[in-house]
């Protein structure tokens, strides 16, 4: 087939991919992006042209070792159920768009770490892309029988191939500026390519095994007799066992760390069913890819000349059989493998570069002015430029090492460099102490080791055709020979490099992390990654941030990048979710974090962080600040609790105090009244005594007047003494110090005695006393006190009835349970206004002049106290016609509290 015909076929093939992508994007967008089959086939991008051609070359030269590239993933995939789910959950909640974002975020969204990882990945992936270009252009040469390549750039078909592939990728990979957005069409073409390469690889396997030969056993039998197959029967030395194991560890890491694998497994992950089928589907795909490898390798060795490149046995075998169609098909299988790898790798890498290098370091200040469409277009153009540049750099590398280096050793460089991300990636996910400094120094240290032990010798031998380091070691020192640096014979340079670089890398990472504490951000994210189970709880609210930001500033920023409608929708959503009032001007940490995440999906973490930092006026937080904030919070919460408790206690106390105060005021008022009355009561007789004494001092006073005044003095003195006696009595009774002296005398006896006591006065005044007293009123009482009670009531009655007309009736009835004694007079009666108060101390009617000729105001108070001490009641009322009625009611046989 001529190279022009093949070129036309290539263009047709790429055009078909375009169409498929376009058609799917239009018609089956949803179905394609959610299909687990597409996801699993996408993962199969792992099988690049390196696998497609290289594993046969490797099986030919190294026997079983070609399996190591697949056994690592086969071991790793069941672990996905734990690790990948963790990675996915962290990535999805933070809009992670590349492995650089993922690791940089773990170490506090470190900008320099993001840059470092991006550089490491770029250095690693360019040779990998270059290897794909090499495979495509070499297979192109074989199929088209064109050996003129390399003379001049524009005559070199590899250059055009690279350019076409670069353009294809640049157009497809960047349809949306949102790097976390699933690129359905592109992913679908990758899945189609995975099917194409597998089917063709199986087809050539079957063709060689069953059409060119008579089945697997036939090939084995012929190979056994003609070539050495010992390296296909297992590992027979410890050294080769070590090589084998180290390679498995490397490929184990690659399935997580290769930027394109991270992109396909994590970024393109859309739903749970993806993981469900990937865990068994991906190993199955890898298995199918390996079944015929050894037979193709053996067939090639048997039937092709010694100098034929074993990498291309799949093309050379059908060509030797005269089957150009088969060879062409194989070429397209290889092209599929290469194109899908280049598409995904350069896409992942360009996202990484634009998010971690170009935008944050170069032209970030440009943003913030333009509209969202122009910004998006700009970001896309950056990515396109980067993709083209990457492919062209890969081409340049490929051209410069165009010699007999096998595909395998070229690909290994990529693997070993990317493996330097392993300590900070794997350990960082499960150990929260790991720091940014440790990660950076570890990666750089590990990388320098690979440069020393692998890359420099490789460049020396491949580019300068100088094998001195490979064969004799640096400066001719045998110990510095790449494959001798472990001082174990038969260990490959790859194993040596891998061992020393990971050893140095991990050592530096762990040592520095233990020695130097990370800042608050690193520790915050370390905590989030390690405990991603509690991820939701730690999100947003846990983010410690100190600074000042306005909703308006951040909103404007979001509008610039998301577009007005989308930004407004997101902001509204946020406000509704956290119940934030639209008038709230200050944005809190949650909103800052939320916006940072939104922007991350377009710009990557590092750029988003920087943009947000521009508008939020973030204060740098030291660890001390953070601890202070935490401590303050803790104390504040504790104090708040205490305060609440105290406040409740105080409230109760206040209530009680108010009550007590009201009582006290009442008592105070009563005391004032009391003192007032006492003073008044004392003043009257004292004044009278004073006047009388003055008069008596007058010598000329007639005897008659003198004795009258003396009599006055006597009366007043008696009154004073009785008043003071009353006060003392009442005080004694009220304070409860006075004990009742109970006797068994019947009450009617006491009553009659009291009546006897006043009868003489009554007779003098011409007042009629009537008695209607039942006999045998048995009631345990204090004789003296009850005598006083009756005397007081009777004296009162005497005071208020008119002389010669007055009539006092005393009734005492013996009822079933009670004894009721009534004192009824025909005096002026009690003013209804006064009725409720007459038993109060010193209560005297306002109409004193009329109603109260004499009295201390204590009498009724004493009466009431004594009656109540005996468990009885006393009431006052006005009679039917005129006059007052005092009623004492005593309960028989019932013990009073004072007994």
């Amino acid at each position: 087939m001529t190279k022009y015909a093949l070129t036309i076929l290539i263009l047709l093939y790429l055009g078909m991919l375009f169409l498929i992508a376009y058609y799917v994007e239009k018609k089956y967008k949803k179905a394609a992006s959610s299909s687990p089959l597409v996801y699993v086939l996408g993962l199969a991008t792992y099988c690049s042209a390196w696998t497609y051609y290289g594993s046969i070359g490797m099986a030919t030269t190294q026997g079983i070792n070609f399996l190591t590239i697949y056994i690592g993933p086969v071991i790793a995939v069941p672990l996905w159920i734990v690790t990948l789910r963790k990675i996915i959950s962290i990535s999805k909640s933070n809009n992670i768009s590349s492995i650089a974002d993922f690791i940089a975020l773990r170490y506090g969204n470190s900008r320099s770490l993001g840059l470092l990882i991006t550089s490491i990945c770029t250095i690693a992936i360019i040779p990998y892309i270059s290897l794909q270009l090499k495979a495509v252009s070499e297979s192109f040469a074989l199929v088209s029988n064109d050996n003129t390549s390399g003379e001049h750039l524009f005559q070199d078909s590899a250059f055009y191939l690279s350019l076409v592939i670069g353009m294809f990728t640049a157009f497809f990979g960047t349809r949306s500026s949102d790097a976390t957005h699933n690129r359905t069409g592109m992913l679908f073409t990758v899945a189609v390519e995975s099917v194409i390469k597998l089917v063709i690889f199986l087809a050539i396997g079957i063709y060689v095994t069953y059409f060119m030969y008579d089945g697997t056993t036939d090939i084995y039998e012929i190979a056994k007799s003609s070539i050495d197959l010992s390296n296909h029967f297992g590992i027979n030395s410890l050294a080769s066992g070590l090589n084998w194991s180290f390679m498995i560890v490397v490929s184990f890491m690659m399935i997580f760390l290769l930027p394109r694998q991270f992109h396909l497994t994590v970024v393109e992950y859309a739903q749970k069913s993806h993981l469900k089928h990937a865990i068994w589907g991906f190993p199955l795909y890898l298995l199918l890819f390996n079944i015929f490898v050894i037979f193709i390798a053996w067939a090639g060795r048997i039937s092709l000349p010694e100098n034929a490149n074993p990498d291309y046995y799949t093309i050379l075998l059908p060509l030797s059989d005269g089957n150009v169609t088969m060879a062409t098909l194989v070429f397209f299988g290889g092209l599929s493998a290469a194109v899908s790898m280049i598409v995904i790798s350069s896409l992942a890498l360009s996202t990484m570069i634009s998010n971690n290098v170009i935008i944050p370091y170069g032209i970030l200040s440009r943003f913030g002015k333009d509209t969202s469409e122009r910004n998006n277009e700009f970001i896309k153009n950056i990515r396109r430029g980067v993709i083209l540049l990457l492919v062209l750099m890969a081409y340049t590398l490929f051209v410069s090492i165009r010699n007999d280096q096998s595909l395998f050793s070229l690909g290994l460089i990529s693997f070993i460099i990317v493996a330097q991300l392993a300590p900070s990636f794997f350990i960082g996910m499960y150990w929260n102490r790991g720091t940014s400094l440790g990660a950076k120094v570890g990666i750089v240290g590990g990388y320098l080791v690979t440069v020393f032990t692998y890359i420099v010798p490789f460049i020396y031998s491949s580019v300068f055709n100088n094998n001195s380091i490979m064969e004799q070691g640096y400066f001719g020192w045998d110990i510095l020979r790449p494959d001798n640096m472990l001082a174990v014979s038969d260990i490959t340079a790859t194993t040596t490099t891998f061992f020393w670089s990971i050893f140095v890398n991990t050592g530096l990472y762990l040592t520095l992390s233990v020695m130097v504490k990370g800042n608050y951000r690193e520790r915050n994210y370390g905590e989030i990654y390690v405990n991603s189970g509690d991820y939701d709880a730690l999100q947003e609210s846990a983010y410690i941030w100190q600074g000042e930001a306005y909703f308006k500033d951040i909103s404007e920023l979001l509008i610039r990048f998301l577009g007005e409608e989308k930004a407004k929708k997101r902001i509204d959503h946020f406000r509704t979710k956290y119940n934030i009032h639209p008038d709230e001007k200050l944005a809190d940490a949650r909103f800052v974090n939320y916006s940072e995440k939104l922007l991350s999906s377009i710009l990557g973490n590092v750029s988003a962080k920087k943009l947000i930092a521009n508008v939020v006026n973030e204060k740098p937080l030291s660890l001390v600040d953070v601890l202070d904030v935490l401590e303050e919070n803790k104390i504040a919460i504790a104090t708040n609790k205490k305060l609440k408790k105290k406040s409740k206690e105080l409230e109760e106390l206040t209530d009680r105090l108010t009550e007590a105060n009201i009582k006290l005021q009442e008592l105070d008022r009563k005391k004032d009244t009391f003192l007032n009355t006492v003073a008044h009561e004392l003043k009257t007789p004292v004044t009278s005594i004073g006047i009388s004494s003055d008069v008596l001092l007058d010598e000329d006073m007639p005897q008659e007047l003198r004795s009258r005044f003396l009599k006055n003095i006597q009366t007043d003195t008696d009154r004073l003494s009785s008043l003071i006696g009353n006060i003392l009595d009442l005080e004694k009774l009220a304070s409860g110090r006075e004990k009742l002296n109970l006797s068994h005398l019947s009450l009617d006896h006491t009553l009659k005695k009291a009546i006897e006591g006043i009868r003489i006065i009554a007779q003098k005044k011409g007042i009629n006393i009537q008695e209607e007293i039942d006999d045998n009123l048995h009631f345990k009482h204090d004789y003296t006190k009850f005598y006083q009670v009756f005397t007081n009531i009777l004296s009162n009655a005497l005071k208020f009835v008119k002389d010669n007309e007055g009539k006092i009736t005393i009734r005492a009835k013996n009822l079933d349970n009670d004894i009721v004694i009534e004192f009824i007079d025909n005096g002026v009666g009690v003013d209804p206004v006064d009725l409720p108060f007459i038993f109060d101390k010193f209560y005297q009617s306002k109409n004193q002049d009329l109603k109260k000729p004499i009295g201390s105001g204590f009498g009724l108070a004493i009466v009431k106290t004594i009656v109540e001490m005996h468990g009885g009641q006393i009431t006052a009322s006005n009679g039917n016609h005129k006059g007052a009625v005092f009623t004492i009611k005593l309960t028989k046989y019932e013990k009073s509290t004072h007994y």
């Binding site: 734990v82 697997t216 469900k276 190993p283 050894i294």
Partner: protein, 64 residues
Amino acid sequence: MKIRHQQKLVVLSLGLAFLFNIPLVLVFAKKWTLFGFPAFYVFTFLFWILSIVISYVVMSRHYD
């Protein structure tokens, strides 16, 4: 998916890691062949297939 079922896959992964590494892998070095496949490949592919089957069964039964 319950932790218990996740652990089945973790154990599977650990098992494969031991099986495919030295020293256990040295046991695969036998001289016989099966349908032209040397013993080493027979062992490797067998465990490979076994892990696919186990993964498939665990995932289809317990993954929700």
